[in-house]
Structure formats: structure tokens, C-alpha cells
Amino acid sequence: MSRHLLSIAAAFVIVPSLAFAHGPTRQKTSESIEINAAPDKVWAVLGEFSDMSWHPQVTSVKATDGNNKGSIRTITYASGETMEEELSRYDADKMRFGTFIGQTNIKVIPATNYSSNVSVKPGDAEGTSEVTWSAAFYRGYPNNDPPAELNDEAAVTGVGTYITEGLDGLKKAVEAGS
């Protein structure tokens, strides 16, 4: 009896996710921060794919293949949650890299199919940098009529917070260390 109910429940959970709809549209967000340090100093911290200690939510990171394209880092968060992120492009000369998270953990970011670009450029003032972190993603709930915590707005807000906290943390870490 209870198994029967469970399987009905499972059917309801599984079916919608199979019917991956085009209903939701891709969302985006982009944040920048000015850091009081030269670009190469910022890149020395940010450009290390196996290190995200500057992000306040992150407790540890392990990467499979360093800064090489295809490297996958497993990020563990203070909440105990984990997420795997792939390095999809890496350009040390231009001080930028791109990532992709096919299987997001919606407890970390309420979004799916997440990809990001992070870059360091010289800031307006001498010896400063501008770091930009952009992301594109779909909401956490792939079908029509999403619950409020997994709709488009929630995805943009959630990813935005994740990025802003990261950039603030990066600024603190770099400025403290320089």
C-alpha cells in the first residue's frame, strides 16, 4: 500500500522532469566589482580553478585536472551541500574562464543548466581591477507553473546573491593579501 503510494508519488516527480519543456526561457545576470589590486594579483587568486576559498559559502574545493579545460571541481559548501562545476574554457592571457554546471544543486543555486564567464580587466584607476562574473541559466523548476522559490525571478535573485557574495569575498581576500 505505502509502496504503491510511493510509486505514484515518484511518477509525479519523474514525469515532469522528463518532459523537459522549452517553456522556461534562459535567464541571465552579470555583476562587477572594483578591486584595489592589479589584474595579475587578482587573477593569481581567481584564476586558480581548484581554489574558491574566497567565496564565503565555500568550505573546500577539489579539481580533477587543475586549470585545464574539462577539469571538474567539486565544491563543498558550509551548508554541507556539494556541486560539480566544469571548466569549459580557460584563457590566462585574457584573464578569463568559463564554467558549466549541468547538474546544479538547487539548494545552492535555485537554477539549472548554469554556465558562467568570469574575467579580470584593468580598473579605471591605476593598479585596480574590475572583475565581472556573468551567468546564464534556467530556473530551478523546468516546467510550467513553477513554485515561487523555483521560478525565473528566484533563479535570477539566487544566482545574483551567489555571485555578489563571491565577488565581495574575492575583493576581501585579494585586498587583505596584497
Partner: protein
């Protein structure tokens, strides 16, 4: 050829007018018109009109329902609006928005028969191709496709329709007269965009999931080649014996030789490039960069980006978005 001065004169008067009227005036004399892009801005819910010779935005038309796909003729632009479950219609002469065509389902990819009718709409939800009569604004038939059809292309002679059936990892070749599938050919993973070469000999299926393009023979429907491209490719255009492919996550335009399939380069085009189409003479390709909100123009000889213009928010321009390719051939209806 188009006398350049007449275009300039027409444009010089544009700033005096606003909004739709700009578009209306610009389209008042189609015989003198150059090529123009109609770019669907999905997030901004508008369609930007871009004069391609000068790369100037000459108008913007509000279009709700998250517009994505587009197909233009010499007279109309048909816009798929997944969230409105409808097709928007723009009269290219007046710039006016005509009454919607209700389709239901999830309209996405869209193409028009070379005669101007019917309009073919890929319905993401019912796994079929809707045949729409633009005159009566009704769905008159449904052709069976695979799962989640996305891109649609029609042969220049109007006899064959090709769909990219994304979740079936296949391309369907459909007889335009009978609606029968003449072949369903397995391609790479999750094909999205589909394009027929200008000489009508080849089909390019762009596989988002396997980062490659499947080249098929239009006649034998056999696979000629599988060409690796950049990350998460979206759509392709052939011009100047080269094939240009937008790589969404790569932020690049992959270029390969249309004859040998050899890689010719990778152009850093912008963030999340999506819709792409060539000019009628093949000298340029135009690319909508979704993240950047821009339309980029690429010289197909030098492979340089000659110009980039800001359009609306979240441009997709999925389909044939360039009007005026058959200048002077204004058939009307």
C-alpha cells in the same frame, strides 16, 4: 543594384518620426530597400529592425510572449512566441502588427513555404509540425515529427521540409505535399538548428549536445560528415563556401569549409551567439548574441567582425530573420 543615395535620403527623414512610423516609412518602398534584420529579443519582448548596410537600428516593435523564432518573406515576418502560444505577424510594408495566429502548444522553430504559404511551425509540446494558413490564421494540418522539434527549413523549390527533432536526436525529411516523412535520420545529440545549403545539396544539423554538426545529403539523405565545432552550438549558415556555426557556450563562431569540412577558424563573436543568417550575396553573416544583446556582422572573406550593433534584451533570431534578400521581387499576395 540598389542606388545608395535613395536609401540615404530615406533614412535622413527617419529621425523626424517615431516608433512604428519609422518602420513604416522604411518599408514604404521595398524596391529600394536593402537587407534588413528582424531580431527577436526574447527577454525584452520586442523585435528590433536593423538596416544591415549601415548596421543601424531603425525601429523596434513590441511583441510579448517571449519571441524566439522568426521567418520572413518579402512581405511578412512571422514570429513564434512560445509563452503566448501564438505566432505574431508583422507587415513589412507598414511595420504594423497584424492579428495573432493562435497555435497552442509550444511554437518554436518556424519557416515559410517559398510561395509565401503555408507557414510551418515546430510545436515543442505536440511533437509535430503545424501547417498554418496565414490567410485564414488557422492550423490546417499537423505533420508528425520526432520529439521536441526545434529548427525547421524548407527547400527552395518548396517540396521538402526538414526538421531537427531535438529529443529524438534525428532529422526528419518531410514531403511538403503529403506531410509524409520520407526519412528520419539519426544525427548527433540534441540537434537544434537546421539549415539547407544555398545550392540545396546539403543539410546542416547543429547538435547542441555533442558539440558538432551533422552534414547530410539532401537527395540521398545520407550522412556526409560529422564536423566538430565549439561548445553548445545552436545554428549554422553557409556563405562563401564556408559554414558558420554559433557556439552558445563557447562564445565563438566556428568556421569550416563547405566542401572539405576542414576547420577554418574560430571567431570570438560575443557571449551566447544564437541565430545566424547570411546575406543574399554571401559576403556577410549576421549573428545575434543573446547575452550581449547585440547583432554582429562578419565578413565571410576575412572572417573579421566588421560591426556590432546593440539590439534589444536577449536576442535569439532563430530562423530566417533577414528581409529584402530578393529585392525587387515583391510578389505581394
Amino acid at each position: 543594384m540598389i542606388p545608395r543615395h535613395s536609401r540615404r535620403r530615406a533614412r535622413a527623414r527617419l529621425p523626424l518620426l517615431a516608433g512604428f512610423t519609422m518602420a513604416a516609412l522604411a518599408f514604404g518602398s521595398p524596391a529600394h530597400a536593402g537587407e534588413r534584420a528582424f531580431v527577436t529579443n526574447q527577454d525584452g519582448e520586442t523585435v528590433s529592425i536593423v538596416e544591415l548596410d549601415t548596421m543601424e537600428v531603425i525601429g523596434s516593435i513590441p511583441m510579448d510572449g517571449k519571441p524566439a523564432g522568426i521567418a520572413v518573406t518579402d512581405r511578412y515576418a512571422y514570429v513564434s512566441r512560445p509563452e503566448a502560444k501564438a505566432i505574431g505577424v508583422i507587415d513589412l510594408r507598414s511595420g504594423a502588427v497584424l492579428p495573432d495566429i493562435e497555435t497552442g502548444g509550444g511554437p518554436l522553430g518556424i519557416a515559410v513555404h517559398p510561395s509565401g504559404s503555408p507557414v510551418y511551425v515546430a510545436d515543442w509540446f505536440s511533437h509535430s509540425l503545424l501547417v498554418v494558413d496565414p490567410e485564414t490564421r488557422t492550423v490546417t494540418a499537423r505533420f508528425e515529427t520526432g520529439e521536441s522539434p526545434s529548427g525547421v527549413a524548407v527547400s527552395a523549390d518548396g517540396t521538402m521540409i526538414v526538421t531537427a527533432d531535438r529529443d529524438s536526436d534525428q532529422v526528419s525529411f518531410i514531403d511538403a505535399k503529403t506531410g509524409e516523412a520520407l526519412a528520419r535520420v539519426g544525427v548527433g545529440k540534441r540537434p537544434f538548428g537546421v539549415t539547407i545549403s544555398p545550392d540545396q545539396r546539403r543539410v546542416y544539423a547543429v547538435n547542441v549536445g555533442s558539440d558538432d554538426v551533422t552534414v547530410l545529403d539532401m537527395t540521398t539523405r545520407e550522412i556526409l560528415a560529422t564536423v566538430p565545432v565549439g561548445s553548445h552550438p545552436y545554428a549554422a549558415a553557409e556563405a562563401n563556401v564556408k559554414v558558420f556555426v554559433t557556439d552558445q557556450y563557447g562564445g565563438t563562431l566556428s568556421v569550416f569549409d563547405a566542401g572539405t569540412y576542414r576547420a577554418l577558424g574560430e571567431i570570438a563573436i560575443g557571449e551566447y551567439p544564437e541565430g545566424i543568417e547570411a546575406s543574399a550575396d554571401g559576403r556577410f553573416v549576421y549573428v545575434a548574441n543573446w547575452f550581449d544583446g547585440t547583432l554582429a556582422k562578419v565578413d565571410t572573406d576575412t572572417l573579421d567582425i566588421t560591426e556590432t550593433v546593440d539590439v534589444g534584451n536577449g536576442p535569439r533570431a532563430f530562423g530566417n530573420f533577414i528581409a529584402g534578400k530578393a529585392t525587387g521581387k515583391d510578389k505581394g499576395r
